[in-house]
C-alpha cells in the first residue's frame, strides 16, 4: 500500500444494446463508473451481465448491437477458467504480450504478490485450481490495468480457496487501484468486495446499490445482512425484506 496513486479510469456507457438474434440481451444500458471504483454485477443467468462485461472487453464482435462505450484501452480480463497456456511455464504465461525489456522482473514480482514466489518455471498443469487462478490474477495485474474485468473468476473454486482469493484480490486492488467490474452470481462475494453493486435483470440495470461498509467486512454485520436481504429480494430469491 505504498503506492496510492489512482490508476483507474472512468467508464461511460450510453444506450448500449446487444441482441442475439431476436432476443435483446442488453436493453438500452447507460452507466457511469468513476475511476478506481469496484463494481460488482450480479443477476440471474441470462440477465445479460456477462454480455455487458464482454462488450466492455471488446470480445463481442459478431454480436448485433448499438451504443457508446468509453473505456480505457489498458484493461485486462480475468476469466472464470484461468485460461493459462498449458505449453508455457507460469512466468511465460504471466508475461505474455508484454513488450518491455523488464517484463520478466515485473512478472516475478507479480507472482510473488499472489503468493507463488519460486514457481516461475512450473507448468500450469502442475498447479491446483486455486493456484492457477492466482497465476491468472498475476497475469492480469502485471499489465497495471486501468480497468479490470472479471467474469466469475472464483466461480470454479472451492469455498476455502475462494475466501483466500477474496482477501488477495482486495489487497492487490488497494495497491493498484484499477477500476473493477466483477461479474458474479454470489451476493456475499459482491458485498464483501465491491464499493457498488449493480443488479441486472432482463438486460437492464434494476438496482444500483452503494456499499459503504467499512473493510474488512463481516458477514455477521447487521448492515451487511440488511444489504444482502435487499439484494436477494431484487434478485427474486427472497419474497420480502
Amino acid at each position: 500500500m505504498n503506492d496510492m496513486t489512482f490508476r483507474g479510469s472512468s467508464i461511460h456507457i450510453r444506450n448500449l444494446t446487444r441482441k442475439f438474434g431476436d432476443r435483446a440481451v442488453l436493453q438500452d444500458i447507460s452507466l457511469d463508473i468513476p475511476p478506481g471504483q469496484f463494481v460488482s454485477l450480479i443477476g440471474k443467468s441470462g440477465s445479460g451481465k456477462t454480455t455487458l462485461l464482454r462488450a466492455l472487453a471488446e470480445l463481442d464482435d459478431g454480436v448485433d448491437g448499438d451504443g457508446i462505450i468509453e473505456a480505457p484501452d489498458n484493461r485486462s480480463v480475468l476469466f472464470q477458467d484461468s485460461r493459462l497456456l498449458p505449453w508455457e511455464t507460469v512466468i511465460e504465461n504471466i508475461t505474455i504480450g508484454l513488450r518491455t525489456s523488464d517484463s520478466v522482473a515485473h512478472g516475478t514480482r507479480a507472482l510473488a504478490d499472489v503468493g507463488l514466489a519460486g514457481r516461475e518455471n512450473a507448468w500450469p498443469n502442475m498447479l491446483s485450481g486455486g493456484e492457477q487462478q492466482r497465476v491468472a490474477l498475476a497475469r492480469s495485474l502485471v499489465r497495471e490495468p486501468e480497468l479490470l474485468l472479471a467474469d466469475e473468476p472464483f466461480g470454479a473454486l472451492d469455498a476455502l480457496t475462494r475466501i483466500r482469493m477474496h482477501g488477495l484480490l482486495i489487497e492487490l486492488i488497494e495497491r493498484h487501484r484499477p477500476t473493477v467490474l466483477l461479474v458474479t452470481h454470489d451476493v456475499d462475494e459482491a458485498l464483501v468486495l465491491a464499493d457498488r453493486v449493480l443488479v441486472m435483470s432482463e438486460g437492464r440495470i434494476a438496482v444500483d446499490q452503494k456499499v459503504d461498509l467499512p473493510r474488512p467486512r463481516k458477514k455477521s454485520d447487521q448492515r451487511f445482512e440488511r444489504l444482502r436481504e435487499e439484494l436477494l429480494v431484487a434478485l427474486g430469491v427472497v419474497e420480502t425484506a
Binding site: A57, E58, L59, R75, S76, V77, F79, D81, R83, L85, P86, W87, E88, I96, G97, W123, P124, N125, S128, G130, R139, R143, D158, L160, T161
Partner: protein, 319 residues
Amino acid sequence: MPITARLRKSEAGPRSPSLGEVAELWMQSPIGDAVPQITSLVGHYPDISEKPAATARNRRTRRALTPGKLGPLGLLFGPAVVLAIWQLSSSLGWLSPRLLASPITALEVGYELFRSGDLTGHLLTSATRAYLGLGIGVVAGLVLALISGLTRTGEASIDGLVQIKRAIPTLALIPLAILWLGIGEFMKIAIIATSVLVPVYINTHAALRSIDIRYVELARTVGLSHWEFVRRIALPGALPGFFTGLRLAVTTCWTALVVLEQINTTKGIGYLMSRARDYGQTEIIVVGLVIYAILGLASDGIVRLWERRSLSYRKVIGT
C-alpha cells in the same frame, strides 16, 4: 462434501466406519481441503496408518480403472510368443523352408550378409532414400498445413488439392512419375515425399483448426500480434497433431520404399527381397522383413521420445 455426509450417516448408526471406509474417504478427497476434516476423523476413529494392509488393498482397487504401467520389455511379450511358436514349427518340420525359413536360419543368413558388408550397402541406400523423402515430405506437409490452417487463401488453394492427393494411392502415381521424372533416385524420393506429406498435412491442419477459441480470446485481451499468436498459441497447439502425423509418416516412408525399390535398382532392401523372391530364398525375405520391422519400430520410438519431450507439459494416461 462427501466426507461430512458419510460421517453423519455413520454417526447415526451404532458402529464406526470401517478402516476401509476411512481410507476410501481419504483417497476420494483432494488433499488440500480434506486435511482439517481428516484430523477430526483421527480423533474419533483408529489411526489408519497402523493398518497399512487395508490402505494398500484399497489403493489397488482404486487404480484398476486404468491399466498399470508396462515395463520396457513388456511390449516384447507378444512377439516373443510368436517367435517361439514359429521356431518350434520349423524345428519339428511342420513348416517347410520353401514357404518360410526358420528364425534361426534367417538369423544366420542375416549375420552372414552383414559380415560380408553386403547388407550394410543395401541398408544405407534404402535409408538414404527413405529419410531424404521423409525429410522433404515432412517439411512440405508442415509448411502447407500452416499456410492452409492460418490463412483463408491458403486453405482455399491447398486443402482441396491435398485431399485429392490423399484419395489417390501413391502407387497409382508411379507410372506418371516415371514418365515425368525418370526412373532414377529423384523419382523415388519424390514419390516418398508426396506420400509422407499427406499424413503430416492432415493431422497438423486438423490440430490447427481445432485450437480452443478461449485461447484466441486470451490472445486478444493480452494484445498479441498476429505473428505472436501463431508462435505462442497456434504452433504449440498444433504440435500434438503434428506428432501424430509424423509417427504415421515414418512408417509410410518405408512402405513406399519397398515398392519403389523394385524399379530399376540394384541396391536397397527392397531389391534384395525381390531378387530373393525370384530365387525362392525365404530366409533372405525374412531378413528383409525383420530389417523393415526394426527400422519402423526404431523410427517410431525416436519420434515418441521426441514427442514426449516436447509435450512434457501434459499429463496423459499411458505415457
